[in-house]
Amino acid sequence: MSTLEEYRSDIENQWCPGCPNFGLLAALKRALVSLDLSPHKICLVSGIGQAAKLPHYLNCNLFNGLHGRAIPVAIGISVANPTLKTIVTSGDGCLYGEGGNHLLHAFRRNPDITVITHNNRIYALTKGQGSPTTRRGEKTRLQFDGVELDPAQILATAIVHGCTFVARGFAGDLGGLANLFEEAIAHRGLSFIDVIQPCIIWDRPVKWYKERAIPVPADHDPADRDRAIALTLDTGDSFAVGILYRTPPKRTFAASYYDRIGNEPLAKLPLLDRAIIEDRLDKMRFDTETPSQH
């Protein structure tokens, strides 16, 4: 039995007191425990940003890599060791800005990873510039007269790319978020959760979001693509929280490779059969040949 205690980390937390990131962290731990996963069976992967510090704050394997590059790293890890649960937690700037291309193509690949975006609609660590999800018109510490771009619609992009688990969470709702995480992590293939995580320093207050975080309508059929897309679209004034789109798991990335080599972490594979090497070397060999005369 995995316990919350196992996941406790004694690394000093660098987040601001009161930040909803703490709620997200707590929900994630709760989900991991609830799934009875031990710390050494999971690997957290992040980029750079406030959000991306999360892996340091729970006891687990972690890869805190470059800004924007969590996704390919996570794919590499999950292919190399499919027995790990590989989970990406990073910021909206990291995953949708610098790393946008990787996420787009990850939807196509469908690796068996969970992607959690701390969407605070801001570049927090670099002190308050607009992020790809900042609302048009919002003033920031770089867009002083307001952002002049439309926000990115990554949830909808996930859906049109056939991602089989697409959800929106709210960091102010620990219980609901923990449930979402649990379902996402248990889901086979890429599961994607954009978590509204208000930044209490650079963004609006949590309360503003709380009032606008509305559960997905009870009658929503998660396989209804058009409705799901409509629910993802960020009008700026209310956010459907819950599982927006879900279809049965499909073939995951690298499946055909594993069909060939068996389901082992690659590091445990023995060296390639020497006969294969020798055979290939022989194919590069040419001896004198005197063809029979005819």
Partner: protein, 553 residues
């Protein structure tokens, strides 16, 4: 000494490669070493491409850029490459003939043999006649190559080859350009971009992620083409994903690599710094081509030595290996994986289009046995695991994600011994800087001395690196024959540079496929070596002995 240069020239799509491969096999099976080099344009059809064979008595494995025989498949090619044959050579063309040309109507004979597709066999037959390779050897080789398409195709090609052979014989009026007795021999014939994947697979590499880019694409393709090598292959959305994915796989314990060329390598630079920081091994093949920017995408160069050396922000050790031939490429590939693991660093294998596409003849090709023992620490012997534990040599015990219950924490920020982000600049930062640099110092002691030849009596010393070795060797031999006192130094491990005392009082030149003398810069900085100059090349063709000799005169 027998030394025959045959240039097969034509447009992309005309099949010069098929002719080249058939002839190569004929010579090899006849007992003669063949060195082949390909030169082509960045397009899919048309243009001026050439496939060059150099046949010698013993393996030379260096290019000759002139031709004894030019086979031109079309008029444009004939005009474009005509100057290669100089006053002594012969051209075989399908068109008009003059004193130096033999006319063989490839297309007509092919049609007569049943299909225009057989034109290449007509051409191959003509060359065999010209150089004195028996027709039945060619027929045998054609069967080898086309057998899989059925008897009709083999038959057609055979008829075609025969008509080409006979037409050339007639045109030559019994003479061959040089007749060639069969010899007993056993050769391997391979290109470095064929041996590198094989060596990587033998070294336990199980993961390659890459993005297509000439001239590196052959490497990922070789893995994909041969699933039995057991390597997971992924074509990524871009080079940034490629290297980060491979680093992720490496962190999860598997030997992983990527391959690219200059522009793609540029995109990997940030992640090279990442690998340096998180101390995760990664092998990167950087296959050079002429720049800047897109440059000449299908040609060769050695322009990225200093770029590769200084790739990545911040300071961290890396290893640069520049193999000189397909066998050396095997050694260097094994060494790359082994030292990447031992020092937990990024390793860059510098090749180039010349090395990628040239087939060398080797008397034996070996891949030494590899051991994967000691790649990782024994988790049972560890109490509290710290990924970046401080040690005397800077090398920390390595575990991978999921290897045991020990948690592995990798962090691109400056980090504590446990791998957690730190702002401790008073103690931890300097320790970690020192730890990383100490690995570099230890690594330096492992580096092989460069090859050194004829230094004792040398007045002039030619210093090269990587793929130019044999051309320089050939040039030095030629000059020595003329009485010049020439020595040679050749680096295939180009960074870190080993301690080395170079005798003074000699004229040192570097010979490099670039214009600014990048190795020269490095030798001045590292050895304080005063250089007399650099023999460079920047037109996208490989350095050849004749050019080097000319430049030195």
């Amino acid at each position: 000494m027998y030394d025959m240069s045959i240039v097969i020239a034509g447009a992309a799509g005309e099949g010069i490669q098929t002719i080249g491969e058939a002839l190569t096999r004929c010579f090899l099976r006849h007992g003669y070493p063949v060195f082949t080099y390909q030169e082509y344009e960045s397009r899919i059809r048309g243009g001026n491409n050439s496939y060059r064979l150099r046949v010698t008595e013993s393996p030379m494995n260096a290019p000759r850029l002139d031709a004894d025989i030019l086979l031109a498949l079309n008029e444009k090619a004939a005009a474009h490459y005509r100057s290669l044959i100089g006053e002594r050579g012969w051209a075989i063309t399908g068109h008009d003939a003059d004193d130096q040309q033999i006319h063989v109507p490839f297309r007509r004979f092919a049609r007569e043999a049943g299909s225009i597709l057989y034109a290449n066999s007509v051409a191959a037959g003509a060359i065999c006649a010209a150089v004195g390779v028996p027709l039945n050897l060619l027929v045998h080789v054609l069967k080898d190559l086309f057998g899989k398409y059925g008897d009709e195709v083999v038959g057609g090609n055979t008829v075609a080859a025969r008509s080409g052979y006979e037409a050339a014989q007639t045109a030559l009026d019994g003479r061959t350009v040089s007749s060639l007795p069969q010899r007993e021999a056993h050769f391997h014939h391979a290109a470095a971009h064929e041996t590198i994947p094989l060596a990587a697979a033998a070294a336990g590499c199980r993961f390659i992620s890459a993005y297509p880019m000439s001239p590196s694409t052959g490497i990922i393709t070789a893995f994909a083409r041969d699933p039995e090598l057991g390597v997971f292959v992924e074509q990524t959305e871009d080079e940034i994903a490629a290297i980060n994915m491979a680093i992720g796989a490496s962190a999860a314990g598997v030997r992983a690599m990527t391959a690219t060329s200059g522009g793609g390598f540029a995109l990997m630079v940030e992640a090279i710094s990442l690998a340096g920081m998180i101390e995760t091994p990664i092998v990167i093949v950087l296959s050079q081509r002429p720049g800047p920017a897109t440059g000449l995408p299908t040609r060769t160069a050695q322009e990225d030595l200093l770029f590769a050396l200084h790739a990545g922000h911040g300071e961290f050790p890396k290893l640069l290996l520049a193999p000189s031939d397909p066998q050396d490429a095997i050694y260097k590939t094994l060494r790359a994986f082994s030292l990447a693991d031992r020092y937990q660093i990024p390793v860059i294998l510098l090749t180039d289009q010349f090395l990628a596409d040239s087939h060398f003849t080797l008397e034996g090709l070996v891949i030494p046995q590899v051991s994967l023992a000691d790649r990782f620490a024994d988790p049972r012997a560890i109490d509290e695991y710290r990924r970046y534990q401080l040690t005397e040599d800077g090398i920390s015990p390595r575990l991978y994600f999921g290897q045991s219950e020990h948690l592995v924490c990798l962090d691109s920020d400056e980090h504590t011994q446990s791998g957690h982000i730190t702002e401790d600049i008073a103690d931890v930062r300097p320790q970690m800087v020192e730890k990383r640099l100490e690995k570099g110092r230890r690594l330096k002691r492992e580096i092989a001395l460069p090859e050194q030849a004829d230094l004792e009596d040398a007045e002039t010393v030619l210093i090269g690196w990587g793929s130019t070795r044999n051309a320089i060797r050939e040039a030095a031999a030629k000059l020595r024959k003329n009485g010049d006192r020439i020595g040679r130094i050749h680096f295939t491990e180009v960074w870190p540079l080993p301690d080395l005392a170079l005798p003074s009082g000699k004229r040192y030149f570097t010979v490099e496929g670039n214009s600014t003398g990048q190795l020269a810069h490095l030798l001045r900085a590292e050895y304080g070596l005063a250089l007399a100059g650099t023999i460079g090349r920047n037109d996208g063709l490989p350095l050849d002995a004749a050019t080097i000799v000319k430049e030195l005169s």
